[in-house]
């Protein structure tokens, strides 16, 4: 095996690896601005200069291929001097507006200046003035003065988003980034450039000035925008989601996620139309009642119907655990009319990340068995059954059946009993007899199976009334740790909602069924025991990056 020596450490190298990659694989981080593991090599920032023995000059580690017997020094005096010089050069025209800049706290330039900077400037002339607050595209603001011309965003839009929309214009210290004439930076992946921008030149319009990065806690999660299931981080302050960012997972989404997933999938969590508490229809109006009353009424009314008159609709938006609890509950009632609806926007798909199946868990719902039993009927037959009066009671899990089409909307209004689990008010909850508030993806533990058949975990990031940030082991910021109920920055609203499986467990206890789950993990353990695709898995095994299930073919649901 060819080996490379970096700072006295022997590293085995693969063919075609650069020094920076080899060092990184051994845990040695060489400073870099323009180099990114998923983008082509540009080599323009020069901060990654290292000293290589027997080479006359320092070389940039991002584009120098590692070879056998090479001896590299990343901390020698010569290297550090060069690094300081590059730093000084970059800082000549970089404004000192960290207090205003949103990137502060996660800025590479700030970090390296802290590590390598001299702490004083020899530059006495006036800094270059460039355009600030340029609206590059619908979601992105660009600050020309802060830009250090690393070209990461240009390479990203060319190589990853496959849209050639950005370019450098001018030369020398006047160089700046712009879109091609008449074009807007509007591809579906633009916001990834705000993540890879090493400084605060490109900022997310939606998140701009909302919070300092160190004030938030971050929780590993999964995007629910489509069946890709991009790995994400949920950023929380005062129990409110402020932004989503992609999390690296080479098997699913690499470093990226689409703008739609980033901006739209979390807005419902703190929306004004969240269902907060249980509701029952009394005298034609939905009225808020206690959990006990709602559960009792639901249990009692379900008993009034024969098993053939009841149908259950699972959901591709809900977790495997929720769907499994639904099946178990339905089977206890003797109901076999179980199915779920797909949400496919055909054609809305690309070769990068976006999938036409707009639900995060359609494969998971199918795998855990949300499908008609031996004598049961499927979703179209359920609709027909309701029309004919054969199906009198319908139980819908986290899906908006009334919005499927007009036929559904007019039909389910005629039901005798409509029980709905929902996160937000929608057309279906407006027609329901009983509405249970379901926790969103950001408020519960669970698993999704993406279109590849990869099972991935979501974790609670937002506290609900039944979830305590400290007791339930959720991620906490410094503010969460030391706050009291009297601090205004701790008084973010907690919704009175529960994960759907908990509602099923409570209902089955009232009806005398044997369903005793205390944690989502226990349901997953039972799924792992009873369904072959999930065999031998548990939450620890699934971990941060998910596990590929052993299924014969991926189902294009």
């Amino acid at each position: 095996m060819p080996t490379l020596t970096v700072d006295g450490k022997q590293i085995e190298i693969k063919q075609g690896q650069t020094i920076i990659e080899a060092a990184r694989s051994a845990g040695i981080e060489i400073p870099h601005f323009c180099w990114h593991p998923s983008l082509s090599i540009s080599g323009n920032c020069r901060i990654c200069l290292v000293e290589i023995e027997k080479m006359p000059k320092l070389a940039i580690s991002c584009s120098t291929y590692a070879s056998d017997g090479m001896v590299v020094h990343t901390q020698s005096q010569k290297t550090i001097e060069a690094r300081n010089a590059v730093m000084e050069f970059i800082l000549i025209n970089h404004p000192l507006d960290c207090p205003i800049c949103d990137e502060a706290g996660e800025c590479k330039l700030q970090e390296y200046v802290y590590d390598n900077g001299k702490g004083e400037s020899r530059f006495e002339e006036i800094k270059n003035r460039k355009e600030k607050r340029v609206q590059l595209g619908p979601h992105i603001k660009f600050d020309g003065e802060r830009c250090i011309s690393c070209s990461r965003c240009i390479r990203f839009s060319e190589e990853i988003a496959k849209k050639n929309q950005l370019t450098f214009v001018q030369r020398g210290d006047k160089v700046t980034i712009t879109t091609f004439p008449g074009e807007s930076f509007d591809n579906p992946y633009t916001l990834n450039t705000t993540d890879i921008c090493p400084v605060g030149a490109l900022t997310n319009q939606d998140f701009r000035f909302k919070s300092r990065v160190w004030e938030m806690s971050k929780t590993d999660s999964i995007c629910v925008g489509c069946s890709r299931g991009c790995n994400t981080e949920i950023w929380i302050r005062n129990n409110e989601i402020l932004r989503l960012t992609p999390r690296h997972n080479e098997d699913v989404n690499s470093y990226w996620m689409c703008d739609k997933g980033r901006l739209e999938t979390f807005k419902n969590v703190n929306a004004g139309n969240r269902i907060d508490g249980t509701y029952i229809r009394k005298e034609g109006q939905l009225q808020k009642v206690s959990w006990g009353e709602a559960l009792n009424v639901a249990a009692k009314s379900l008993k009034d119907y024969k098993s053939g008159e009841i149908a259950f609709i699972g959901s591709a938006y809900a977790t495997c655990e929720d769907n499994y609890a639904l099946i178990k509950f339905a089977k206890s009632l003797g109901v076999t009319n179980i199915d779920f609806a797909g949400h496919i926007i055909s054609g809305d798909q690309d070769e990068i990340l976006i999938r036409e199946d707009k639900t995060p868990n359609s494969l998971g719902a199918e795998l855990v068995g949300v499908q008609p039993g031996s004598s049961g009927i499927n979703i179209l037959a359920i609709l027909k059954g309701i029309k004919e009066g054969k199906i009198k009671a319908l139980y819908i899990l986290e899906d908006d059946a009334a919005s499927f089409n007009e036929e559904w909307e007019s039909t389910i209004g005629n039901l005798d009993l409509l029980i709905v689990h929902a996160t937000n008010e929608n057309k279906t909850t407006a027609l329901a007899n009983i509405v249970f508030p379901a926790s969103t993806f950001a408020e519960k533990n669970g698993t999704f199976v993406n279109f590849q058949g990869r099972v991935q975990r979501i974790r609670p990031a937002v506290a609900t009334e039944e979830m305590d940030r400290a007791l339930d082991g959720m991620e906490m910021s410094r503010w969460d740790k030391f706050g009291t109920e009297f601090d205004r920055w701790m008084q973010g609203h907690k919704y009175d909602s529960k994960p759907s499986w908990k509602i099923f467990v409570a209902l089955s206890q009232l009806l005398g069924f044997k369903m005793k789950f205390n944690m989502a993990e226990e349901i997953f353990a039972e799924i792992a025991n009873s369904i072959s695709a999930f065999k031998g898995l548990d939450y620890d095994e699934v971990g941060k990056h998910g596990v590929q299930l052993k299924i014969k073919q991926t189902v294009n649901a």
Partner: protein, 164 residues
Amino acid sequence: MPGQKREKDLNIFEKLYIPEIAKGMALTLKSMFRPNVTLQYPEVRFEPPASYRGRPVLVQENNGIERCVACGLCSRVCPALAIEVQASETDLDKERYPVKFEINMLRCIFCGFCEEVCPEEAIVMSKDYELVFKNRNDAIFGKDKLLVPVEKLKDRLEFLRKFK
């Protein structure tokens, strides 16, 4: 204590006590003619020197706009977590301003770290030491109570330039 030897035995004059009493009386007498340091508060108020750390306030420029750019460093450095800042965007040149700036005076320990860390010299310790509240909510000072015109803070700002 009986039996225990003193470090130093009293000499004859000290044993007599009378000279010592006379010494004490002399000191008392001397103090009677010294200038008075007790202030008849609240009729007479104490005017602290510039180095005094009263309640932290925000500097308001002459055009009515706060200096603060809501960078959040005061909030981060505050050991008692007394400060909450919410930034927002403004059309002014400085881009960023605090739409909400709250100091919980029940948490504040008057350490002055916020003043020390501020990159804009926007939060300074005032001379205001009279802080009375009837309930918890009154103790949370918003921008309305925190903003103080720059003229009134000249003393402190000069002090900071000299010694910070």
